[in-house]
Point group: C2
Chain length 340, copies 2
């Protein structure tokens, strides 16, 4: 694997593809290669994009990639599908993109699907981003389908997170999950030529006003009463970033420049006052804790006699011992000298 790092750095696409496959399959030797390329990371801007199926996410990502290419920037697209393999979402998106972006050597597209645990996918995503970063891409677009915890895991790797909505996806409440809104740096209402776009934008703005403590304070003006502002303008001053809401029609290329500008604004916001440094430190800390957790449990179970877990499960099931006592038993099995 390590012999692929120099070719990767000189733009060899086969080396890139092989390293990504090794990351995805957790192949042996990949850790050494990742350690070797790690000093060359930290240059590409990582943009996370998430949205429910039906929001036109893939088209939007394709248009964004085309716009960056026009500016002369190289683009990598990493499509992460945390849902079941049989949805085939990522693959379908790729086919559409292949048609639009194929033949351009400044673009690289790659899908990754769930393999085992959600935690495994989060780790593979982070490592794949590093490989793409070391390969020298200016913009790394990490795309995922909106499915709860997985978006949060992607945010842990992205610098700017774009959440994509669309009008007419039924109940506004349905489309606008508070948890997803909270991770958004930029909000997009795609398919903005459809009916219901105004109410979708309004619903998003209301959620933002209620959700952001900063904006809430700002709105409480007269005698502590909440005043609804007609349109909440993005506030980039001080230490507050209020996600702008951008309307796009990806299939027509509409609003893409505005989206680019919003992402760029956020990048400038992070560049000020050590914010980027603090964000990266947070990301690293969360990653280390995640990986330590996985390593510890792997070590523990590797050191367990084969039947030990089964025996303990049986005892809990028969109500001979309670779960906490079982956990204590398992922890006591922990081998003491495999930490190195």
């Amino acid at each position: 694997m390590i012999e692929l790092v120099d070719p990767l750095r000189s733009g060899d696409r086969r080396a890139l593809a092989r390293l990504l496959t090794a990351v995805e399959n957790e192949r042996s030797g990949i850790d050494v290669a990742l350690a070797e390329l790690y000093p060359h990371t930290g240059h590409g801007w990582v943009i996370g994009l998430t949205g429910a199926p039906g929001t036109g996410k893939s088209s939007l990502v394709t248009e964004l990639a085309k716009a960056y290419r026009k500016q002369g920037e190289t683009v990598a697209i990493l499509a992460v599908d945390p849902t079941s393999p049989f949805t085939g979402g990522a693959i379908l998106g790729d086919r559409i993109r292949m048609r639009d972006l194929s033949g351009d050597k400044g673009v690289f597209i790659r899908s990754m699907a769930t393999r085992g645990s959600l935690g495994g996918l989060a780790r593979a995503t982070r490592d794949a981003i590093r490989v793409l970063d070391a390969a020298g891409f200016d913009r790394i677009l990490v795309e995922t389908v909106g499915a709860g915890q997985s978006e949060v895991d992607i945010v842990r790797a992205a610098y700017t997170t774009v959440v994509i909505e669309a009008p007419g996806l039924g109940d506004d409440v349905q489309a606008i999950k508070a948890g997803i809104l909270e991770i958004a740096d930029v909000l997009v209402v795609n398919k903005a030529d459809r009916p219901g776009v105004d109410s979708a934008v309004k619903a998003l703005r209301t959620m933002l006003e209620l959700g952001h403590p900063a904006s809430r304070e700002q709105l409480v003006t007269h005698h502590g009463k909440l005043v609804q502002s007609e349109s909440l303008q993005p506030q980039h001053s001080q230490d507050i970033w209020i996600p702008p809401v951008v309307r796009t029609v990806a299939t027509e290329g509409q609003g893409i420049d505005e989206l680019l500008a919003a992402i760029e604004d956020h990048r400038h916001f992070l560049a000020e006052a050590d914010r980027m440094k603090r964000l990266e430190a947070q990301h690293i800390q969360m990653e280390l804790v995640d990986r330590v957790r996985d390593a510890l449990v792997k070590q523990l179970f590797a050191g367990l006699p084969t039947s030990a877990l089964d025996d303990i499960v049986r005892q809990v099931q028969s109500r001979a011992i309670d779960p906490q006592t079982a956990v204590n038993h398992l922890l006591a099995f922990r081998p003491v000298d495999v930490a190195k």
Copy 2:
């Protein structure tokens, strides 16, 4: 806490409420109480119910509770809200229910919201179910909003999982996430008096046909070609359970008897051929692994010098060391004698 276990078992509602609060807040002494009541668990039937906002989940759960009460069974409702506190979903649902179910001593309703990690909520949910189980409730309805990983965590505690959809929630693809379908033992299309119910039911059946390996085999009949069956009947024979699709109008009480029957069918299915025993063993094993993982990481970081993690994060950020090397450093810090 332990002094509350006897009153709990004799039906004291104040003891029940206090134990649940202690579980929710991870109060000290709760582990001893949980160990004490654990032998008295395993009798109530735990039903998980999940669905997106707008599917009428709360009304359906209320109707289900009323139906069980009519049969003379006691019911506990545990509403778990894994989304941000400011949605207030769980609380709203409770108010509706309070009106319909208040004054009935055979019903107990309790909400739990996110407090810290998703893992913490999963653990609190499991423990709360045990408290309700030991209190002697015949049916324990665990309700959650559809938000990805959290449903999966709830499934780990429920015996029968009901996934609730509704027509007209926009794009069918949106409403029918493959990952959620995979956890369903019973599917409900609520608000079945609305337009679009037939296409919603059909979409669910198609997904089931594609998704279930068992049903897929069954459908491949002529020369290996996939034959679409008009309506896939539930198959309870052999070791295969194909989730039935039940139409309900909860606000009118329609279809509730059918839903009850479907849940009962699934309970009988699990009662055969040691299935319930195997399911419970799986649940226990997953719980033990989760809890061991949390305990290990807590131990490691408790044993770390205060500045050690910050120092290592800084080294990774400056690219002096790579993340894997950092993980190895952290693991080497692991104290060796705190396992007991």
